[in-house]
């Protein structure tokens, strides 16, 4: 199978997952009744299209999703499942807001700080995995909660971060706006995009995210470092045998993944349209990075498009509420998409058979690009040899 065919089969598999998700969502809407499920689905699928005022919001929310998607995808490439994007996003947001609101730093300093904050939160799972062999999934989930509680307590107890500090009638359950704190320079520049798109949501954020996606693609595909990371993901033992420092690569991969999620927080909250709310609820932005990465099979450039898609149905879902359907229907659709992506490789093998490209056994598919933990990929790789017996 050549490369072109392979990627088009990936695309078809992704589309199958999406259609399955949308059908289940439609089924749910029919099942719970309410008015006009079909019209609701129409709203869901059209309100985020270019030309509508919501399009700016789609691109605005796509920017952090690209980053969390890159974060999850980058870790996948090294054979790690970064379910901690949510906590890294939260800690990154906190550092960005702290630097911007309290220390009045310019926006790029805040963004670098956010990357550092996320990187620290990514370091721990990587470190524990590399040196103590503690499953990174468990650690990441723990750090999601630790980060969330710590950030909420910190923000609530740093008065200059709250509107009440600047105005006696200000609220205390979310962070102050940058203008209110006297630091409009902390906002990511709009560079005229808000006027061009006619939406206050638009700014340079999405452009920064796309540039970073290209940078990640270059790192993964054009550098020795990226090659080593991918080698570790495909077969840890083989890469150690080849002289690659697997421990270092696991930690670095999680640190970079964390930094990418941290920047997502900066892109989301340094926009001037969203404020950080103090509540105990894990940031959905981090979890939505998982379907973004899965739909694109972790390809950095594909992630740009899958992020726009996930943002698109989220924005459509908000509009859908006017017909009295809960936005949870969107969460169900996304969950079903992930569920179907989990057996992407089966779907792909099936497709290859149907198209007739692959005459061999479905089981003889090469090792998945999204290899889970180290041990699993080893088994996948030794399969063909065993079968020859």
């Amino acid at each position: 199978m050549n490369k072109m065919m392979k990627s088009s089969i990936s695309l078809i598999a992704a589309l199958i997952s999406i259609v399955a998700g949308l059908l289940v969502g439609l089924g749910v809407m029919f099942a719970i009744g309410g008015q006009e499920p079909l019209r609701a689905m129409g709203i869901l699928l059209t309100s985020g299209l270019p030309g509508n005022p919501e399009f700016g919001k789609v691109l605005y929310q796509a920017a952090p999703l690209i980053m969390t998607g890159l974060s999850v995808g980058f870790a996948f490439k090294t054979g790690l499942f970064n379910i901690g994007a949510s906590g890294q996003f939260t800690v990154g947001s906190f550092v960005a807001l702290l630097l911007g609101l309290v220390f009045k730093m310019p926006w790029y300093v805040c963004m670098i700080g956010a990357a550092a904050g996320g990187a620290i939160w990514g370091f721990f799972p990587g470190f524990f995995k590399a040196f103590f062999n503690v499953n990174e999934v468990i650690t990441s989930i723990m750090f999601n909660w630790i980060g969330l509680y710590a950030v909420c307590v910190s923000i609530a107890n740093i008065p200059p971060m709250l509107p009440r500090f600047y105005h006696p009638s200000g609220i205390t359950n979310e962070t102050a706006k940058f203008e209110l704190a006297g630091n409009p320079g902390g906002l990511i520049p709009k560079i005229g995009l808000d006027k061009l798109f006619g939406s206050p949501y638009m700014g340079a954020g999405v452009i920064i995210a796309i540039l970073l996606a290209v940078l990640v693609w270059v790192i993964l595909n054009k550098t020795t470092f990226g090659y080593e990371l991918k080698a570790c993901g495909l077969n840890k033992s083989a890469s150690i045998y080849a002289g690659i420092n697997a421990k270092r690569n696991i930690i670095l991969s999680m640190v970079i993944a964390g930094a990418l999620s941290g920047i997502a927080g900066s892109l989301y909250y340094q926009s001037g349209v969203s404020q950080f709310g103090i509540k105990i609820e894990l940031a959905p932005m981090g979890f939505n990075g998982i379907p973004v990465a899965l739909l694109a099979t972790s390809h950095p450039l594909g992630i740009i498009f899958s992020a726009i898609f996930i943002s698109f149905i989220n924005v459509g879902g908000e509009k859908m509420q006017q017909l009295e359907y809960s936005t949870q229907v969107i969460a169900i659709i996304i969950a079903v998409i992930i569920y179907f992506s989990a057996f992407f490789f089966l779907v792909k093998g099936f497709l290859a058979k149907v198209i007739g490209l692959d005459k061999s056994n479905v089981n003889a598919e090469p090792a998945p690009v999204i290899a889970p933990a180290g041990e699993e990929s080893e088994t996948v790789l030794i399969e063909p040899a065993e079968r020859e017996e």
């Binding site: 307590v153 979890f287 998982i290 169900i332 989990a342 056994n361 065993e386």
Partner: protein
């Protein structure tokens, strides 16, 4: 509050919160001993608690007299509904990861995201639009009181009083299920076969054990127990179900790892974790703990405690930690 009252309160609440952890961690153990990583425990708990609460309230509203007369039976029906719904939901994970050989972690994550969303949609559908919580505070028969078992609350000693302070049918049930789990895992043919499938499925298959069937059984048992655990958590946590179990499914996973995939160790680990959770609630009145007065949301500082302790323990015990060898690897007959 006197010192004895404090100890008694902490003791009874520790048991209360250890029960869901124990049940769910035992569930995770059965699944992983069979070779399937069940990260969907959190979602299964949410589903089990949802169905359990709906059944409990339905019994209360439509068969109130009968339920009040037979509270244990009515509670057992609710628990049974939670268990069955958890089992059915867990089969989604089984289907994806056993038959379709999907990535178990990703499949489980999907189920975790699906459960709370579906629970809210169901809550809306059953109790009306905009309802986000199911209140069961007026279901008086859900608790086993001291009077019910023939004791006198006025004259009973501090021990009995604290035992029955928050006693639900799930507490004795959990102890029974723990014993059953030990017997099932170590003393039966099924248990031996299940463990074989988690260690070396190819070898198990070669002596005629149906690996797929055993793994389905492991996942189903985990769904059954996690469903009960979800209801047990919701009963322990308050008087309303809010489509969440606050990360307990994941804590249970760490309890399982810390308990080294062995039932008795898991029971000890569950008590230990619950103690740390409860200590946070009583931080203000425990003399040797700082209470962080003057800090807003100081209770949240102690909410971090169980997670930090978990991290420390996982790191410290990582050397002797021994996971089932074949867990996480989809079984492919052709690799035999």
């Amino acid at each position: 509050m006197s010192f004895f009252d404090l100890v008694a309160n902490i003791g009874s609440e520790t048991v209360l919160f250890a029960v869901p952890l124990l049940l769910v961690a035992l569930g995770g153990m059965f699944s992983e001993r069979g070779g399937i990583i069940n990260i969907a425990l959190e979602g299964i708990m949410v589903v089990g608690a949802l169905v359990g609460c709906i059944v409990m309230i339905t019994l209360h509203e439509h068969m109130g007299v009968w339920s009040a007369a037979n509270p244990e039976l009515a509670m057992l029906i609710s628990v049974g509904a939670a268990a069955i719904s958890g089992l059915v939901y867990s089969l989604l994970l089984g289907f994806a990861s056993i038959h379709l050989r999907a990535d178990q972690t990703i499949g489980g994550t999907a189920l975790n995201m699906l459960a709370p969303a579906a629970a809210i949609v169901v809550t809306w559908a059953v109790y009306g639009r905009g309802q986000t919580s199911i209140n069961f505070g007026n279901v008086a028969w859900r608790r086993i009181t001291l009077a019910r078992v023939g004791g006198d609350p006025e004259t009973a000693g501090i021990f009995l009083r604290s035992v029955f302070k928050s006693m639900y049918v799930t507490t004795p049930l959990a102890i029974i299920l723990l014993v059953l789990a030990i017997i099932l895992l170590y003393k039966t043919r099924f248990g031996l076969r299940l463990r074989a499938c988690g260690e070396h499925p190819q070898a198990a298959d070669s002596v005629g054990i149906n690996v797929y069937k055993m793994r389905y059984a492991g996942v189903a048992i985990s769904g059954f127990l996690a469903g009960i655990g979800g209801l047990a958590f919701t009963l322990a946590a308050g008087t309303a179900y809010q489509s969440t179990v606050a990360g307990y499914g994941f804590l249970a996973l760490s309890v399982m790892i810390f308990g080294n995939w062995k039932p008795m160790n898991i029971a000890g680990a569950a008590l230990f974790f619950a103690l740390f959770k409860v200590m946070g609630n009583y931080a203000g009145v425990i003399p040797f703990l700082p209470s962080f007065e003057g800090i807003k949301f100081n209770a949240w500082i102690y909410n971090i405690l169980p997670y930090v302790v978990t991290m420390f323990l996982l790191v410290l015990t990582s050397k002797r930690s021994r996971a089932p060898k074949a867990e996480g690897i989809p079984y492919d007959k052709s690799t035999r």
